[in-house]
């Protein structure tokens, strides 16, 4: 780890000032569950670390007059889980429960999770996000890499597990800086980008900018759920994931939003999957068809074709889960145990 200055501002404006000093590369520290490891590996070598956890305005979960819920950047994942204001966002809570590490839940923050750096091993070994313009990934071990959005140089997958769920919920992000009074509110989906050059990040934040809040609009009666294909019960990155939010009237899907995780350099919005659901009842078949539609554009690398199937399964199960159906898989009773819900047949080829 490189020596660094440590700052602990108590207001947003102090934080922005500390992040914008010329010739000082500064990074934001929240929970530190990702940053500290990257600093120890010298992948991040900042001159200054700015801890935002003492800024009061970033520690709250509040509901505004419109019913939107504002979650401060320093709010921990378990605080989000425990807060009544967030009960209307089951998909987000499901994802946090799936992170299944008490340490990550109690120390990691919501914004930190959204901005977690990619898990790509070439990036974490210090080869940069693009790893020799994609060549290292193409010629190397790409079992966990992108199957969508991988036609440029970027092959990593976005690391956030919460982003797909929050995007389907219509979340936005408040960003301040780099100018002292500068403030903007972005759609969460627009926080992310696929870098085309080594100088670009996987998010659009500029030096000196601080993402302060996630804003999730009131969700009404929309149904939502997330499904992650996880190899085990630990906090390891899932192999594929999907989140869905649906407006269902009289059993028919009126509108839907489907976002994939762990399959592309950004959270991957799949309009095809959403369209395939609209006007239909949620059934085994319609859920499976949404899964097929989600991966129409997928292009596997040399070792990750299996992720296309996993993505289909994740979409199908997220849709079924949102509608309150049995998702199948290993969460339910075993084949020779009594079943609480009707059996789910496999539709995956």
């Amino acid at each position: 780890m490189k020596n660094f200055e440590y700052a602990q501002p108590t207001t947003e404006s102090e934080a922005v000032a500390l992040l914008t000093e010329p010739n000082k590369e500064a990074v934001v520290l929240a929970g530190g569950t990702d940053l500290v490891g990257l600093m120890k590996r010298m992948v991040v070598t900042a001159d200054r670390v700015v801890n935002i956890c003492e800024i009061k305005s970033l520690q709250q979960i509040e509901r505004d007059d419109s019913g939107s819920v504002w979650i401060g950047a320093a709010v921990c994942l378990d605080e989000f889980l425990d807060d009544r204001n967030t009960d209307q966002f089951p998909s987000a809570k499901q994802v946090i429960q799936g992170i299944s590490s008490i340490q990550l839940q109690s120390q990691g923050t919501l914004m930190g999770e959204l901005l977690r750096r990619p898990n790509c091993w070439y990036f974490r070994e210090g080869h940069g996000l693009l790893a020799d313009n994609g060549r290292m990934v193409n010629e190397g071990d790409n079992r966990y890499h992108a199957v969508l959005g991988n036609r440029g140089s970027a092959r990593f997958v976005n690391a956030s597990r919460l982003a797909p769920a929050l995007i389907t919920l219509g979340a936005r992000v408040r960003v301040v800086g780099p100018a002292p009074d500068e403030e903007q509110i972005l759609d969460l989906a627009n926080l992310y980008q696929t870098p085309a050059a080594d100088s670009e990040l996987e998010n659009v934040l500029q030096p000196g900018q601080l993402a302060t809040h996630v804003i999730i609009p009131a969700h009404g009666n929309r149904l939502s759920a997330a499904y992650e294909v996880r190899q085990g019960e630990g906090p390891d990155q899932p192999l594929a994931a999907a989140a869905v939010s649906m407006d269902v009237v009289s059993g028919i899907v009126q509108s839907a939003s489907v976002v994939l995780g762990q399959v592309a350099p950004t959270p991957w919005i799949t309009n095809g999957a959403a369209r395939s659901l609209c006007g239909k009842a949620v059934t085994e078949e319609s859920a499976a068809m949404a899964g097929v539609a989600a991966v129409v554009d997928a292009m596997p690398l040399s070792q990750n074709e299996y992720k296309i199937q996993l993505t289909q399964v994740a979409v199908k199960r997220a849709v079924l889960k949102a509608a309150g159906h049995d998702t199948g898989g290993l969460d339910g009773p075993l084949p020779d145990e009594p079943s609480a819900a009707p059996s789910v047949e496999s539709h995956i080829a």
């Binding site: 780890m1 490189k2 020596n3 490891g37 120890k40 590996r41 010298m42 070598t45 299944s100 898990n119 091993w121 070439y122 974490r124 070994e125 290292m136 010629e139 190397g140 071990d141 079992r143 294909v229 996880r230 190899q231 085990g232 019960e233 630990g234 390891d236 192999l239 070792q303 990750n304 299996y306 199937q309 996993l310 399964v313 199948g328 898989g329 290993l330 339910g332 009773p333 075993l334 084949p335 020779d336 079943s339 059996s343 789910v344 047949e345 496999s346 995956i348």
Partner: protein
């Protein structure tokens, strides 16, 4: 004084032995009060960090240390595996090899110093495709790694004019032609690392010419000679200390080259030094076990008894180019006719070291899968096929033990209820379930061990032994044996272990430690008690052979009222403590310990055929181990071993970049391991009829870590009807195998 006859107390008389005793140091460990090597900090110490080579295969041409030396707080830079100016380049054969160490006032300073090192490399072609025999042959990366053939005497001998190999080949082919069932398969298991939670390393200092080392080691008594050889001093000038160790699994027997570097840096700097590997260095160079991949053909008779085995396996142990030892193929089973051949593959990886039950888990996983495939081919019950093949095993005297253990295991996992033919079980949606078996063996001979036992005139009891507690409860076993023998509560004895200044005790490797310390501590305690009985007998005017020690007193059997407290008895010693040093040498015939165990494990798994995810529902371990000393820690050993088996079967693998050879998942965020939620229900059953108990103590560390992988692999095959050939059985591999089977 009458000669002491060493023995264990009868089962019904034992107060502590065989009972469930909590670790004496459990509270210290769980509260953080226990000081591991990593926790030891010495006044004015320097902290060392080292540069690991970023390339799997290269030459280090030169190193420029000047910028590192200019970092404020860097005290010195030390070349480890790098050329001095003017020297020839140094060839490096493994990612992570330590090249240059930087000693600084803090860890951060040392790390910053490392980041300023400028190294000139000449890159060389690397090769890491240990699974790819053809590619290895094309690259001339193979080495013969042994083999042999044994044919039933009834087949006769080659004639004088016969070419021996041609004759053998003809006989082997005839045997296959005569076989009712022939199975051909290929199986594999990847390299995994030891992944010690406490990385390798030491904190050490010099007192004049004397080196004092706090070392994370499995070998307290005999690491000194490793330092002595390398540093050109004598072993009596080295003291090694290790109170607690955070995992070794066979990888911590030596000072290692970074340990020697630490001593050299401390000497040069004239200050204490702390040098422990970082996490990625621990995974890269701290230890790994060899991979194995095999082509098998076996032939069986109409009963499913294998009559002929023919195999060729390959794999890597790193740049020294060996693989899993061929001597155990097929594992436990030994058909009357076998031919086996092994090829080592030279890869650009750190050489392997002993890993819990060296070679056995891999041999089990890649050969007993073939026996399970025989059951599948015959549409037979795997349990029946394993039972029938017990007529041909390498330790025929164990066949009844295995049979009984398999019967017990089957009951515990409810085999008859859950069994179905391979791939023919019920399905719920995409989920299927299945059962599998593996069986194993191990030696477990007690290691050499000496113990100094002191009884003080005030009744105090203390022992000294240069053994070590790997976390398995050795310290507690020592105390139990002394307390049991002397009739005292366990808190009344003070056990001192973990220092090379104490009497010698062997390294903790090969499941040898509980046997070792049980031998030395029981002997010392029986001998000291015999001396005390002489004094007490004289005082009480009773025969010494009528005395017994229990409940804190010494009393005469059949002599009512003839008794005195332990303290009173000890006051008879005089003014100097009573001291006894017991000596047990490995291999000595002893009524206290023996060797050779059998064991079986069974797994019940569920497989999601849509995702390829495997979930352990239940695992059962049936294990003999002679006399169970501490039932609680023994069970813990087996639980831990089963979890390690689950890890290797489903999660763990070293992943090398195929082009650069880099070990790319060398951090715990990418080196996947199971969590408690992944282990399912674990059931441990000790097979301990009186005949087993009478054998005395036998080591338990390795055996339960062997057959779980085969059991899980076989259960997945039973569930899906498809063999997933290579462990770990990741979702990708399961899905790939299912897709291939579908065609």
């Amino acid at each position: 004084m009458a000669e002491v006859t060493y023995s264990w107390p009868e089962n019904h008389k034992a107060r502590l032995i065989g009972k469930r005793v909590s670790r004496l140091d459990g509270m210290e460990k769980s509260t953080g009060a226990a000081k591991y090597t990593y926790d030891v900090n010495l006044p004015k110490q320097l902290v060392v960090r080292a540069l690991g080579c970023p390339h799997a295969h290269c030459r280090v041409i030169s190193v420029d240390t000047s910028a590192a030396e200019r970092v404020p707080g860097v005290v010195l830079v030390h070349l480890i595996k790098a050329p001095k100016p003017g020297d020839d380049p140094v060839e490096i054969r493994a990612d992570g090899t330590l090249l240059v160490a930087v000693a600084g006032e803090t860890e951060a300073i040392a790390a910053e110093g490392v980041s300023k090192l400028k190294v000139k490399y000449e890159l060389l072609e690397s090769f890491v495709a240990d699974h790819d025999l053809q590619a290895a042959e094309a690259k001339k990366r193979t080495k013969k790694a042994g083999g042999g053939i044994e044919l039933d005497e009834a087949l006769g001998e080659p004639g004088d004019d016969d070419d021996e190999e041609e004759w053998e080949e003809q006989k082997v082919q005839e045997l296959f032609a005569q076989s009712k069932y022939v199975v051909e398969g290929n199986y594999g298991i990847d390299t995994i690392t030891h992944c010690c939670l406490e990385p390798h390393g030491s904190t050490l200092h010099w007192e004049g010419d004397r080196l004092k080392v706090n070392l994370s080691t499995q070998n307290v008594s005999r690491t000194d000679d490793g330092y002595a050889d390398a540093l050109k001093i004598s072993a009596d000038e080295v003291d090694v200390h290790c109170e607690y160790i955070g995992g070794g699994f066979g990888s911590k027997f030596k000072p290692d080259y970074w340990g020697i570097a630490a001593a050299e840096i401390a000497k040069k700097a004239g200050r204490p030094v702390k040098f422990l590997l970082t996490r990625d260095q621990e995974l890269k160079i701290g230890g790994n076990r060899p991979s194995g991949f095999i082509d098998v053909k076996l032939g069986a008779d109409e009963n499913g008894v294998v009559q002929v085995w023919d195999s060729h396996h390959w794999g890597t142990s790193g740049f020294n180019g060996s693989t899993v030892s061929v001597g155990n193929f097929p594992y436990v089973f030994r058909p009357k006719n076998w031919r086996r051949r092994a090829t080592g593959i030279i890869t650009d990886n750190e050489p392997s070291v002993a890993w819990r039950a060296p070679n056995h888990p891999q041999a089990c996983a890649i050969t007993q899968t073939a026996y399970d495939d025989l059951a599948a081919k015959m549409h037979a019950d795997s349990l029946d096929i394993f039972l029938r093949n017990l007529e041909n095993i390498d330790s025929p005297e164990k066949s009844l033990v295995y049979a009984e253990q398999l019967r017990i295991g089957a009951d515990l996992i409810d085999w008859r209820k859950h069994w179905h033919l391979h791939g023919k079980g019920k399905r719920r949606g995409s989920v299927v379930e299945g059962l599998g078996i593996g069986i194993h063996k191990w030696g477990g001979t007690a290691n050499s061990s000496n113990c100094l036992l002191k009884i003080h005139p005030d009744g105090g009891v203390e022992s000294y032994c240069g053994t070590q507690d790997l976390g398995t409860g050795t310290r507690t076993i020592c105390a139990m044996v002394l307390a049991e023998t002397l009739g005292l509560p366990i808190e009344a004895v003070k056990v001192n272990i973990g220092s090379s200044t104490y009497p010698f005790s062997g390294a903790s490797g090969g499941s040898t430690t509980v046997g070792a310390v049980s031998e030395s501590h029981r002997r010392a305690a029986q001998e000291v008690l015999a001396q005390l009985f002489e004094l007490v007998a004289k005082k009480l005017e009773v025969p010494a052979d009528k005395l017994e020690a229990s409940n804190g007193s010494i009393s005469a059997v059949d002599y009512s009222g003839k008794a005195m407290s332990w303290k009173q008895a000890c006051s008879l010693i005089g003014i100097q403590p009573l001291e006894v040093t017991s000596i047990y040498k490995r291999g000595d015939d002893s009524p206290l310990s023996s060797s050779n165990v059998a064991g079986c494990q069974m797994a019940r798994v569920a497989v999601d055929t849509d995702t390829g995810v495997v979930k352990i529902i239940k695992m059962v371990a049936v294990q003999d181990m002679g006399l169970v000393m501490n039932r609680k820690t023994a069970e813990s050993q087996v639980y831990g071993a089963m979890i390690m088996s689950i890890a290797a079967a489903l999660f763990e693998q070293r992943i090398n970049d195929p082009k650069t050879g880099a070990f790319i998942n060398s951090e715990l965020d990418s080196y996947r391991l199971p969590r408690l939620g992944d282990t399912g229900e674990l059931v441990v059953h000790f097979h301990e009829p009186e005949s087993e108990r009478a054998r005395g103590v036998i080591g338990l560390g390795e055996p339960p870590a062997i057959s779980g992988g085969a059991a899980i692999a076989n259960a997945v095959c039973n569930a899906t009807g498809v063999r997933v050939p290579t462990l770990p059985l990741t979702p990708k591999r399961v899905l790939d195998a299912l897709r291939t089977a579908k065609g």
